[in-house]
Subunit: 304 residues, 2 copies
């Protein structure tokens, strides 16, 4: 079974306010609420690809109930740990420009972390755990390193998609997959890139440091895959960008969907690129049929 | 029993964002959620003054459950009608300046309006109904006139606090109290005022048109009461303004709290002014002790 871990879920509260003005009373003309958080996005895309997963993480309050209920309506499986306080609300304010206001979410205490670790300890080497997303209040910046060490000692394969420099700390535990984007790759190594060619040695370095697969997403320029067998490049697919939110999570989900079916790693790469692009071409996370329609359009070139 | 009617309740989601920037990702540093809506505010202040009331109106979804639960925790009585869709969220964004973003709330259908009318029809002349606040989607601008006509035909006394010009339409049904502020008084008569003296004939006109009592609030300049016995003025109380939100609702509640105890109308006026001021001097709606401490400080002068 695939488990996705979302430490700090959110309600994504998407509102449209024509001519938004600071210092005034504004009124929304459109409103949408979605269960948000990177791990939850991964599970929702997996579901769209008919792959089951179980959502783990921390939820609380009436906003947490919203997330439980919405996921349940979508027939996703959850095994969240209930915490005191309300799951946060992240406001996505769409006007002439887009403005985001992220809430804080509950403070996680050691008893809750202990409960999560206990859940993870019950997994086995036939499971796969996806760690992604931001770290809630009360929790150490080293939490992903701790959790990864725990599952690694139990030989449970895992995927990590975080944007902190702590990503380097987890490489020695041999993640099955990490998925930095080109900005994150630059940040991790405190550098900058003018071309894809300049990124190649850094992708390779992540493999040398322990990552089994490095999926490098580059927005409209497509993606690259680095592993022990070489470097692969998939050019960006053609389509109209509607929504970059959740595109990276979709890429992770697409990749993982094939891993769990023991498909070739390049098939996983194809599904990753197709899923990321399909979400970018949709208003919300991509439906399965949109992903499948793109899979055969993904071209992969082996570079080294 | 006092009934307060809130057609379009809200969660007031108060967030602090230091240096809020449009077109960026912002993060909150403080978050509070309150059950909001003018009728609900009136009931909460009444409770603080140890006067029972029943909250009527429409709530829906997980945000509606939040409001039910919070009011229940405060031991307020509710008899809300459940509607499809989520009760709205009104964002109060505090940064260098204050910005408000009001949500839309559910669409109310005729079946729900019918249920509300049925509740009101069960009231008697020993009850008092307080109508206040904005009109939800799907409901005619004439809704307050309709509801007021209904209760008036049943000889049920009622209070109306709305900021629409429709206020004039309800005067012929003899409201026990209306509470325009000085801006609303000017808007109703499509005029403007340079002094309190200029407002007096307009306050008197509202009485002549049918209002039993007209409570005119003027912010830091205090308030005036108009009725058949004359015109009364209460100068503003001295204190530090912290929060004007809910001050008008508190004034209504203070006034109504005494009516229900069959106190003299000028005692009701005193409680109205004290309650409005106490809330203005507090971060949230005023506690009862703050109101009681101000009551004796209210000075009333009879002008005519």
């Amino acid at each position: 079974m695939i488990y996705t871990v979302t430490l700090n879920p959110a309600i994504d509260y998407v509102i449209r306010v024509p001519e938004f003005q600071v210092d005034q009373l504004n009124k929304t003309t459109e409103e949408y609420k979605f269960p948000g958080g990177k791990g939850i996005n991964v599970s929702r895309i997996l579901k769209n690809l008919d792959v089951e997963s179980i959502n783990l993480g921390f939820v609380g309050g009436f906003t947490g109930s919203f997330i439980r209920n919405k996921l349940s309506e979508e027939r996703l499986i959850t095994d969240f740990i209930e915490v005191p306080g309300d799951t946060r609300i992240n406001i996505k304010l769409k006007s002439d420009v887009e403005t985001e206001i992220n809430g804080q979410g509950p403070t996680i205490e050691s008893v809750h972390l202990h409960a999560l670790k206990s859940q993870l300890s019950d997994c086995t080497s036939s499971d796969l755990i996806v760690f992604s997303g931001s770290i809630p209040k009360g929790v150490s910046e080293d939490i992903y390193t701790e959790l990864v060490q725990l599952v690694s000692e139990l030989n449970i394969p895992f995927v990590v998609d975080i944007s902190s420099e702590k990503l380097l700390d987890i490489l020695k535990f041999s993640p099955t997959l990490i998925k930095p984007n080109h900005h994150e790759l630059a940040d991790i190594f405190n550098t900058s890139f003018n071309s894809f060619e300049e990124m190649i040695p850094y992708g390779q370095k992540l493999v040398a440091m322990g990552a089994e697969n490095v999926l490098l997403s580059m927005g409209k320029d497509g993606a690259a895959l680095f592993n022990e067998t070489g470097v692969y490049r998939a050019p960006g697919l053609v389509g109209q960008l509607k929504n970059s939110v959740g595109s990276g999570d979709s890429m992770v989900a697409g990749f993982v969907s094939q891993l769990s079916q023991e498909k070739e790693i390049l098939e996983a790469f194809k599904y990753g690129v197709a899923s990321g692009s399909a979400t970018a071409f949709n208003d919300d996370l991509a439906p399965g049929k949109d992903i499948l329609a793109l899979v055969e359009k993904v071209k992969i070139n082996k570079l080294t």
